[in-house]
Symmetry: C2
Subunit: 337 residues, 2 copies
């Protein structure tokens, strides 16, 4: 049994059990989540995505340390969910955990969970959404949602976040441009990590050029990881302009400035009403995804195997097309949901 | 109107129109596809995937030229569908076309079509499947399905192919390993392109190591792009062992040997019964995807907007969880499909 009350009270073991139940799609996990749901909506959700080799895990690590040891104020409680949609193996995610553990081990204010593409019933994005909700109800102030790669799955997972960081690094190959164009649309903040590498200036110029293509204003603010050059506003009118923040995460360089950019984005979200709009869009997206899973399950329960197999045989024999097969399987009155 | 007969007779304009209709999800496109479906199942479908920067487009280009100008026998008719799931823009795909056009322009035996993620109703993989079926019915002998990246979408699109080529290149960054592990599972043939670059030997060793992890045999055959070293069999018992083929596609090096490996894989598919198994799996996957789209459409048609909006409001106010909202929206008897 999973105790929703224990999760609310910050019991780490209870949260771990709940997350496992969510991944497995078990009924008592769902029951606990139903009870916890009214306590969600408090955490700041930070999506972190980018191509392999950009140093995302190390960056999340450093940001977590920053929030745990702030220059002023109370430390924030930090949770990390690392999703690897590209790999059917858990290897990458598990390795990432081990690296993180060195710096964050033994800190009760940090909770880390990895998730591979297998073992998620009902789709990766809805399962991640549920896991984030559990962490949110458990009282974590900051929740990182970290994904590898830059495909459709990453874009969907990025939509779960309030603020999305897209991480780039200099010198990752010649036609990375194509991928960048795709994920720039989802970036609230661009991080140019490994900024001590050669090619960082031209990488920043390229990013700036692509940002200008995507935004109907001439001026894009640049942040060079130097305090004096950090702009104090990233907005023009109602528009948020994704800033470019240089970091060297292995050295901790630019991390405080990046955290400031995240704080500015949070303030922008709150002031513009975008926070509430994103929360609503997120919940509706999750609803539609779960609805699709449920409709399919109900159809399966209502359709005799013989009916399905007969239609499938006609399809495989190319007597009917896939579209005609769907028509045969959903004929009016043939099943009732 | 789209004439299925014209598509069958090889009319390129009719095929172009049909592909556009399929992308738009129009009814007359579906009607033509229904009529054409019994003529499908003839082409050899070759999936080509891999990370950005590996030179996939150039490789497909060279293979197409090879099939158009064979050393012996008749030239084959070649179609290429280039899918870019990672980018919401068409920029990358269009640019790829332009590069290809230089070599293949004016050849009536080659048909090229790009597809971006937008404008495909019902999901990228089902739409790609329909487009491939149209090309198949139009009499193309070889159909390349080219995708960028290595995420879940690429894996799904790769499942549409009879033979899947995973393209790698030396020196694409330090943790490309994680991605490789994920897509190695779908590789029938591994192509090590840009083999004139430094680091090619260590890249091949790494690939070999990962292949050995994934296959329960000690010996993995290596192909070094030199005729004398090409193994004449890639199977142990009933098992196909993905060969590693070095190429320098910009120079045309290794292309003939790669085509031989593809021919061997085709023979293996035919002899082992795997050809039919893959065809069946492909059609059933497409059926399930289209069924999901249809079930959602029927649910939408049967559910009054007020009912949906009321449940959504309760969800957004966090009175009910997403799972409870789904239950409310699919309550027995509330709609009949």
């Amino acid at each position: 049994m999973i105790s929703a009350q224990s999760v609310l009270e910050g019991d780490r073991l209870a949260l771990s059990r709940l997350l496992t139940a969510i991944e497995r799609g078990s009924a008592d996990g769902q029951e606990a989540l139903n009870a916890l749901f009214k306590h969600t909506g408090q955490a700041q959700l930070i999506g972190v995505t980018g191509a392999p080799g950009t140093g995302k895990s190390s960056l999340v690590n450093q940001l977590a340390l920053h929030y745990r040891h702030p220059a002023a104020g109370d430390p924030l409680r930090v949770a990390i969910v690392a999703v690897d949609p590209s790999s059917p193996f858990t290897g990458g995610a598990v390795m990432g955990d081990r690296i993180r553990m060195r710096d964050l081990a033994g800190d009760e204010g940090v909770f880390i969970r990895s998730m591979a593409s297998r073992g998620s019933l009902g789709g990766l994005a809805p399962t991640t959404a549920s896991m984030v909700q559990a962490m949110d109800a458990a009282g974590y102030d900051i929740i990182f949602i970290e994904t590898v790669g830059a495909g459709q799955a990453e874009v969907e997972i990025a939509k779960l976040a309030d603020s999305t960081l897209v991480v780039e690094a200099p010198g990752l190959g010649d036609d990375v441009q194509a991928i960048k164009a795709g994920i720039l649309e989802i970036a609230d903040i661009l991080v140019l990590n490994k900024a001590d590498r050669p090619g960082v200036d031209s990488a920043e110029r390229a990013l700036k050029g692509m940002l200008q293509l995507g935004h109907p204003v001439e001026h894009v603010f640049m942040h060079h990881g130097k305090k004096a050059q950090v702009a104090t506003h990233d907005t023009v009118g109602d528009l948020w302009l994704p800033p470019i923040q240089r970091t060297v995460s292995t050295e901790g360089q630019g991390i405080a400035e990046l955290a400031e950019a995240i704080a500015r984005h949070r303030a922008y979200l709150r002031e513009s009403g975008e926070w509430e709009r994103r929360d609503r869009a997120r919940l509706e997206t999750e609803l539609i995804a779960l609805l699709g899973v449920e409709l399919m399950a109900r159809w399966q329960a209502a359709t005799p195997d013989e009916v399905y197999n007969e239609v499938l045989t006609q399809l495989l024999d190319r007597q009917i097309s896939p579209s005609q097969a769907v028509n045969a399987l959903t004929r009016q009155g043939e099943y009732s949901a």
